[in-house]
């Protein structure tokens, strides 16, 4: 029976737990809100991971980890051609640029980071393909999942708390009347702050600032706690009394109805 479903019902952390317990081999494919992730496992251990179209070649990973400088990275990208990651790894070790430990450690760090970026995904279809094995031309790692599962569970708890605090992203934000003046904001917070306007919903801000649901909630929660902003209905959608509220659409009759209710409750 295929392992497939929706992240709404089965979280990434729960999937990792299942893969770990069943010592599964294959590839988990998740179609997220804007990109696809592919994570491969061997006997319940993380072997390889890729998210979207991100360059996850060995040279790119070592360059990001400052193990290769910009010139070395450029030279490899130009000359390595169709060389596989395994061949490139051997070349780099033999040339004395990196050690085998450097390569494995940085691949593990990168793949674990891909998993961390998957934890906030709460929407999307997933399927586990037993037949799709980790790619042969890439260097595979053998990373235990236990620590990632614990980390994912923590994030899940945080996500639940943030959802309690900010249940809907359809509301807008405005600066409070007396915001604190000496607040140090991070780059991410500035990205959100610059879009704060009673006309913009939090959903729109998230989209403009390229933040996922968890990231935008985390930043806004911090801004609210700092007394900088407060939630409000977007001014582009002013308080419109829903026509379904009243059995009549005539404004005068609606007012009469409310006055009747007031009179009746006063007499109770």
């Amino acid at each position: 029976m295929a392992l497939r479903g929706n992240l709404r019902d089965f979280t990434v952390t729960q999937l990792l737990n299942l893969i770990n317990l069943a010592r599964k081999t294959g590839t988990l494919i998740v179609d997220g809100p804007s990109e696809q992730a592919q994570v491969s496992f061997r006997e319940g251990k993380l072997a390889y991971a890729r998210i979207g179209q991100e360059d996850n070649g060995l040279a790119a990973i070592l360059h990001k980890a400052n193990k290769l400088n910009a010139n070395q990275y450029r030279a490899i990208s130009e000359r390595a051609g169709k060389m596989t990651d395994k061949e490139l790894g051997l070349l780099l070790i033999n040339a004395g640029y990196v050690t085998q430990e450097d390569i494995l450690l940085n691949l593990q760090i990168y793949f674990a980071d891909v998993m961390r970026r998957l934890f906030p995904w709460v929407e999307g279809l997933f399927r586990f393909e037993n037949e799709i094995l980790p790619p042969d031309d890439r260097i595979n790692v053998k990373l235990d999942l236990e620590n990632l599962i614990i980390e994912g569970s923590r994030q899940l708890r945080e996500w639940e708390q943030l959802q309690d605090e900010i249940p809907s992203l359809d509301l807008a934000l405005k600066f409070t009347d007396h915001p604190m003046t000496h607040v140090n904001l991070s780059v991410e917070e500035w990205r959100v702050v610059k879009y704060i306007d009673p006309k913009n919903t939090m959903k729109q801000i998230a989209s403009a600032a390229k933040l996922n649901d968890m990231e935008i909630r985390r930043i806004i929660y911090g801004l609210i706690q700092a007394g900088l902003v407060e939630m409000m209905r977007p001014t582009t959608a002013p308080l419109q009394l829903n026509p379904k509220m009243f059995p009549t659409q005539d404004k005068q009759e609606q007012r009469t109805l409310i006055n009747k209710l007031i009179g009746r409750i006063q007499r109770l």
Binding site: P167, S168, Q266
Partner: protein, 179 residues
Amino acid sequence: MQTVKMVVTGPFSAGKTQFIQAVSEIEVVATERKVSSKVERVVKESTTVAMDFGRITVDEDLVLYLFGTPGQKRFDFMWEILSEGMLGFIVLVDSTRPETFREARSILETFRAYAPTPYVVAANKQDLTDAWELDDMRHALRLSGKTKILPCIATDKKQVKAVLLELLYSILEEMESNK
């Protein structure tokens, strides 16, 4: 016969059923079940799992229905259904249980997102010595200065009437501002 409805919402054990009972002319139709969680059972033995339902007849042509939402989060799928077509809503908060304020905030924001209708916040159990003061609750619940927060004792008909009237006044104010 014309019918209109108001929704009474709030965290678990805030006093919603009592609030409706205080003014309903019929015995409140409450769908209660034994509380399953040990922690919640310490607070009370049974809870509303679907809704409370009360009625106030205005005249032969007009009836006001009061719906109480289930307080426990696992029944929140009912909230959107109950909020459909409401005149406005009342968020009832137990002033003596600050541990429920966060949930009250969450419920308030959820209902605000469902329906842009007027609402008031009623601070229940204000007669108890350990009740938080309204100003402190306003800050804890992060209510803006414009949001009405009213003292309340859900078993006291006079106070429940005052809360309902304030909501109706808010609706009238909205109607005037939308002219």
